[in-house]
């Protein structure tokens, strides 16, 4: 088995390298000629967009860390120093700050894509689970990153979120002290959040690698949700999908740039322009927009412990989605009833987001309870039952037949 890899790269230097470490062969196999379904729509751009965002976030983050001070007396000022004094500091920081929102937008659309087209179903369950792990890691990273500027919302957001763990009976108090490294959110908390905020993105890179590796074993799903039946159903990844992804990346960077240059603080909270003050709570504590739906679920339950459990469950339920869905048809395009329930689920998620931004009073309480109820019923009741009851539309014979309208040529 051991010995040089037989490389067919013509360039002698590259051939010498590739014979000893066949990374060029691997890249060609996985990103060059990799057979990819020919019928992707633009929803299939969002994985690549998330990848681009992750790289940009790590790059800008490394340069921000060269100027940032993880110290309660210096953190707020060091961020102002980045904004005012550091060359292009304002640009790097605004790209990073808005990048967090962009990351969640593309990831949420990527997840919707997976749910709508049934990308989580066999044999892609593990691929999906790795994706949920990525989402959880992203959320932890984003939360800790938001604490670093040490504004009022940073401080009180950290206080409220870490206090969630106090809901667990018995051990809760000790968990919170352990997280804080003291008796309140303070210097040790800020320092460790900085350390972990720097570490977790690299853990993310590792899990993303596994996510992509698993994808390249089972292959991509596609809008029809049927497997390619031969070479006529696929295209090489390069140049077809490198080109299509590039179109999406350009549009995405325009949107991101529009936020950075024209509305850099549109998605932020004005309270974070005030330095953290442990003695004064802002009138309203709200998380960043991407956490609002989960915050609404938390507050929709009158019992603190149950609310915390429901909030975590709303994410963890995704892990078992491949086994909750009993339908054998992947794509909702061929599931006339289920399709509408998915749209309703998206509506419930958005309603939860709106509720999360309002004080839990009056109609918002009722709305958030109804939406929470549907959010869970969709996964735990409707998805398992409907899969058995629904009569799906007839599936096309093959991808080629569906996209060209011609029946398969005999071969």
């Amino acid at each position: 088995m051991a010995g040089l890899h037989k490389s067919d790269i013509p360039n002698p230097v590259l051939n010498w390298i590739d014979s000893r470490l066949p990374i060029i062969t691997m890249m060609q196999k996985e990103y060059g000629v990799f057979p990819t379904p020919r019928n992707f729509n633009y929803f299939w751009n969002f994985g690549a967009l998330a990848m681009v965002t992750l790289v940009v976030m790590i790059l800008t983050g490394i340069f921000l860390a060269m100027h940032y001070q993880p110290n309660t007396t210096l953190a707020f000022d060091s961020v102002q120093h980045i904004m005012r004094d550091v060359n292009y500091g304002w640009l790097i920081r605004y790209v990073h700050q808005n990048g967090a929102s962009m990351f969640f937008i593309v990831t949420y659309i990527h997840i919707f894509r997976g749910i709508y087209y049934g990308s989580y179903k066999a044999p892609r369950e593990l691929l999906w689970i790795l994706g949920v792990v990525i989402l959880l890691l992203m959320m932890a990273t984003a939360f800790m990153g938001y604490v670093l500027p040490w504004g009022q919302m940073s401080y009180w957001g950290a206080t409220v979120i870490t206090n969630l763990f106090s809901a667990f009976p018995g051990v809760g108090k000790y968990i919170v002290t352990l997280l804080w490294g003291g008796f309140s959110v303070d210097q040790p908390t800020l320092n460790r959040f900085f350390s972990l905020h720097y570490l977790l993105p690299f853990v993310l890179v590792g899990v993303v690698f596994l996510h992509v590796a698993a994808l390249h074993i089972v292959g991509s799903n596609n809008p029809l949700g049927i497997e390619p039946r031969g070479p006529q159903d696929t295209l090489p990844f390069h140049p077809y999908y490198t080109a299509k992804d590039s179109v999406g990346v350009c549009v995405f960077l325009i949107v991101w740039g529009a936020f950075v240059f024209f509305a850099p603080n549109f998605l932020g909270d004005p309270n974070n322009f005030i330095e953290a003050n442990p003695l004064q709570t802002p009138a309203d504590i709200v998380p960043e927009w991407y956490f609002l739906p989960y915050y609404a679920i938390l507050r929709s339950v009158p019992n603190k412990l149950l609310g915390v459990c429901m909030m975590f469950a709303s994410l963890l339920v995704l892990l078992i989605l491949p086994w909750l869905d009993t339908s054998r048809v992947r794509s909702a395009r061929f599931r006339p009833t289920y399709k509408w329930f998915i749209f309703l689920w998206v509506v419930s998620f958005i309603v939860l987001g709106v509720c999360g931004a309002h004080k839990p009073e009056g109609v918002w309480v009722i709305l958030s309870r109804v939406a929470t109820l549907y959010y869970f019923a969709h996964f735990l009741v409707i998805t398992p039952i409907l899969g058995k009851l629904e009569r799906p539309l007839p599936l096309p014979e093959s991808i080629t037949q569906s996209v060209t309208g011609r029946p398969l040529e005999s071969h």
Partner: protein, 190 residues
């Protein structure tokens, strides 16, 4: 295959028929050793995240009560948390005592919340028991709510002059920190 030939060779040269058991024992010892090592490393690393000695060292503060006029309160920091120390008027004390326990969501007598002989001083952890906001009411110019104690601006919880919850979403009375009078005008918290 390699295993069986190895065990035969060992068994033959050392004359131990139960050589497999010896190998199992070695594996168990090695495994247990590695587990203990990993546990020890984990213990130290996670332990390093708990409050350090300097944080624990400042876990008590002393407060001079002499400058606080009647009817006013001060806020001091203890373990990173705000502590309310309020010098109550006779009227406020009377109001706090003149209430039926059955009317309270979290029933506690005013006597149990102050030190005997120092009824005018109420010492509280100034963190709303609802979602951790800091209630208003230490300054006479602050909003103090219907019961003249403290008022939380976040979600409208109202506390009386004994720091007991009277109205609003907070489930519990404001907590009383551990403290003791060192003299008539000096307390030590923690």
């Amino acid at each position: 295959m390699a295993e069986s030939s190895a065990s035969t060779a060992h068994g033959g040269s050392h004359g131990h028929p139960a050589d497999g058991t010896k190998r199992d024992t070695l594996e168990l010892i090695a495994g247990a050793g590695a587990a203990m090592l990993a546990g020890g490393i984990g213990w130290a690393l996670i332990g390093s995240m708990n409050p350090s000695k300097d944080v624990l060292a400042v876990s008590s503060v002393e407060i001079d009560l002499a400058p606080i006029p009647t009817g006013q309160g001060i806020t001091v920091m203890w373990q990173g948390k705000p502590i309310f120390v309020r010098h109550r008027t006779d009227k406020e004390i009377a109001e706090a005592r003149d209430v039926k326990l059955s009317e309270l969501p979290d029933p506690q007598t005013d006597k149990s919340r102050v030190k005997a002989g120092h009824d005018q001083w109420i010492v509280l952890i100034g963190i709303c028991t609802h979602l951790g906001c800091i209630p208003l009411g230490n300054k006479p110019t602050d909003m103090r709510g219907e019961w003249g104690g403290w008022f939380c601006p976040c979600h409208g919880s109202q506390y009386d002059t004994s720091g007991r919850i009277r109205k609003g979403p907070a489930p519990l009375d404001l907590a009383v920190p551990p403290y003791a009078f060192e003299s008539d005008t000096r307390i030590k918290i923690g």
